[in-house]
């Protein structure tokens, strides 16, 4: 009789509205250990209906997230970094299993992802100060401009670096007060779902971040053409961004497309500036 313990494997499912459902389509697709035929997991292959459910959840979560004070959002995002730190070893193992990264490379990626998250968390209560304005009007009016979230943002995680590619894409849109529908990397989706578990144990309200795994060529056009999605971060798209831009034109989604992962401009690209006038008088 063997004394070896049989480990309990994880079922990787979607993350929608704070819950972990399977795809309503019943579809899943295999992910193998890098360079082998060893099955790592069978994450859900999200359908168009799953995407619609995710968008609806994100829409309904808008007021909860946007109306939270900037200080409060900043603390919630910082706590999320604390939760990431607690899962460090799991993230490292998953990165190594999905890619050919060595342990030190994987550890570096996790550290970088956590630090980037902390950097962005601090922006919540500062972005309005560096980009707003009190405008000197030629007349007796008080006139000021401040940035507001565009609403629901579709986010494309970069295909490489499973965790960092995800964090780079999500953090700026989230800091701006938007709610998200995230398309995980098709090849390396496992880190995204584990990240969903981090979100679920943080204080980010349900529906603020929704994560879909599946086939990118299916999901991209559905997300880009969805009329209740207000913006897209396509920095993680390596090819076909022209088609995404064309589809996004239907409701004039705001588009963020950056090489840099540490730029306040990336936050602002998914915000709209509102200018308010009021007369001054006795």
């Amino acid at each position: 009789m063997s004394k070896e313990r049989i480990d309990v494997k994880k079922t990787y499912k979607l993350f929608i509205n704070g819950a972990f459902p399977r795809s309503e389509s019943g579809r899943s697709y295999p992910i193998y250990r890098k360079g082998s035929k060893v099955l790592l997991a069978q994450p859900a292959q999200a359908s168009r209906k799953d995407l619609r459910d995710a968008v609806r959840a994100a829409r309904e979560a808008r007021s909860k997230w946007h109306s939270a004070s900037a200080y409060n959002r900043s603390q919630i995002l910082y706590r999320l970094a604390e939760m990431m730190e607690g899962r460090r070893s799991q993230f490292v193992e998953e990165i190594m299993a999905q890619t050919s990264a060595s342990k030190s490379v994987a550890e570096k990626e996790v550290s970088e992802a956590i630090d980037l998250w902390v950097w962005y968390a601090g922006w919540c209560d500062k972005i309005g100060q560096i980009s707003g304005a009190n405008n000197p009007i030629n007349g007796p009016f008080y006139n000021f401009t401040s940035p507001e979230p565009v609403g629901v943002v579709g986010v494309f995680a970069a295909p490489d670096s499973p965790l960092l590619g995800l964090v780079r894409a999500m953090a700026p849109a989230l800091v701006g007060g938007n709610t998200l529908v995230v398309l995980a990397s098709e090849k390396h989706p496992l880190s995204a779902i584990t990240f969903g578990e981090v979100i679920a144990t943080s204080d980010v309200p349900a529906g603020v971040i929704n994560i879909l795994t599946g086939i990118r060529s299916e999901l991209s056009s559905w997300l880009a053409s969805h009329m209740e999605v207000d913006g897209l971060d396509i920095s993680g798209v390596k090819s076909g961004s022209g088609e995404i831009r064309a589809l996004a034109t239907e409701n004039l989604k705001r588009i963020a497309d950056f090489d840099s992962s540490t730029s306040p401009n990336r936050i602002l690209a998914l915000m709209d500036q509102k200018t308010i006038w009021h007369p001054i008088g006795i």
């Binding site: 405008n135 006139n143 565009v150 207000d230 915000m271 006038w277």
Partner: protein
Amino acid sequence: MSENSNPFTYAPAPESRELVSIESSYDLFIDGKFVAPKSKKRFPTINPATEEVLSKISLGGKEDVDLAVKAARRAYERVWSKLPGKERGKYLYRIARLMQERAREFAVLETLDNGKPIRETRDTDIPLAIQHFFYHAGWADKLEYAGAGSHPKPHGVVGQIIPWNFPLLMLAWKVAPALATGNTVVLKPAETTSLTALLFAQLCLDAGLPAGVVNIVTGDGSTGASLVAHKGVDKFAFTGSTEVGKAINRTLAASARPVTLELGGKGANIVFEDAAIDQAIEGIVQGIFFNQGHVCCAGSRLLIQENIHDLFIEKLERRIEEIRVGDPMDKNTDLGAINSKEQLAKIIELTQSGEVEGAKAWQPDCALPSRGFWFRPTIFTNVTGAHRIAREEIFGPVLSVLTFRTPQEAIEKANNTPYGLAAGVWSEKGSRILWASRELKAGVIWANTYNKFDAASPFGGYKESGWGREGGRHGLLPYLTHSSTPRVKSGKGVRR
């Protein structure tokens, strides 16, 4: 009552036409010269208040657009990009001063070509256009403080397409920030209103602006399409309809060239029960009848709290009866001519749909001139959110009145549109104004005022009303790239 027996009627007070001389035909302005169009085509431009043909305008073809873009490229590479900001600024100051000196001439020419009242061109269009050049002149040597990094760079050649509702002002909104940030320009004015742009071209010569920095290619939709299709243009800015804006963006999507869009609107003007009623009446009138309602941010939907509806409408109708409709050249005129036959047909079609769908129309009993294109100020009551006149942009002097009971309902109705350009809030309660201003999905909120514009105030829409801002520090950003920060793609997708 005849005019003679009523001491309160206004005697005619026409502005003189002597100030302007209009040539019988106009060439294109390319590379610092007025040149005949290669297309060999010209079309008439008329005064919409009289249908008099004012002049013949060149119709820029593909070849003309190409020459203009090449001239702008040469000017960018050889002259304009090498000029320090403070020198660029001096040209803009010169232009502002020349416009001030000839302000009355611009006002008269604009009124003749557009049909809007001389009071508005004289007091709003032209002074604001001048302010835009003056304001942006001062930015030219301070761009490192604009928020686009420490070494912001221009895009190069900018293609700009402007509408007919504020011809010279829209030119100023486009050209002033583009030049201040170091770009060169190919501008296409609207088909029906090219004359002030061509006078502006003369001003560029008078100011000694280097050849090719500003090129003006007049024409129609096909001219604009050639400009959008031209691969030599690095950045686009368009003001006009949402439909055309989307078409432009589809053309540009594959190359990911940056574009600023100022598109349509269906602005909600919300009057709460605690509003200062008479002040609100003035604001509603200003919101929808300013410039014949040819305003993308017009307050075309009045949302009125139900308990004050009847009183408010009665007062509003009494006020509208005082609006003077007629000769735009008369200094007392409030409402001028509709800009074109096509636009008049569109207004008539939409107002007819309002009646068919069950809304109730009201118009004052005012006389209209026998020639030209005219439409009486109109208000529709009994409007529901499903009516076309509550959903579609009419772009005319037509107000749709809806009611609400609670503040939440007001916001829900106001935001129930794919547009998001502007909205108004009328209340004497500060906290309610700030709450409503926060909840409204629109780029400009006018609280206890409406239709106010300023060169220092960012203007632009949420949702399908557009991308980017014009005016103020924010309006500079779409014209700058961030090439000094190497990890950021230059200009790509940077919209604020």
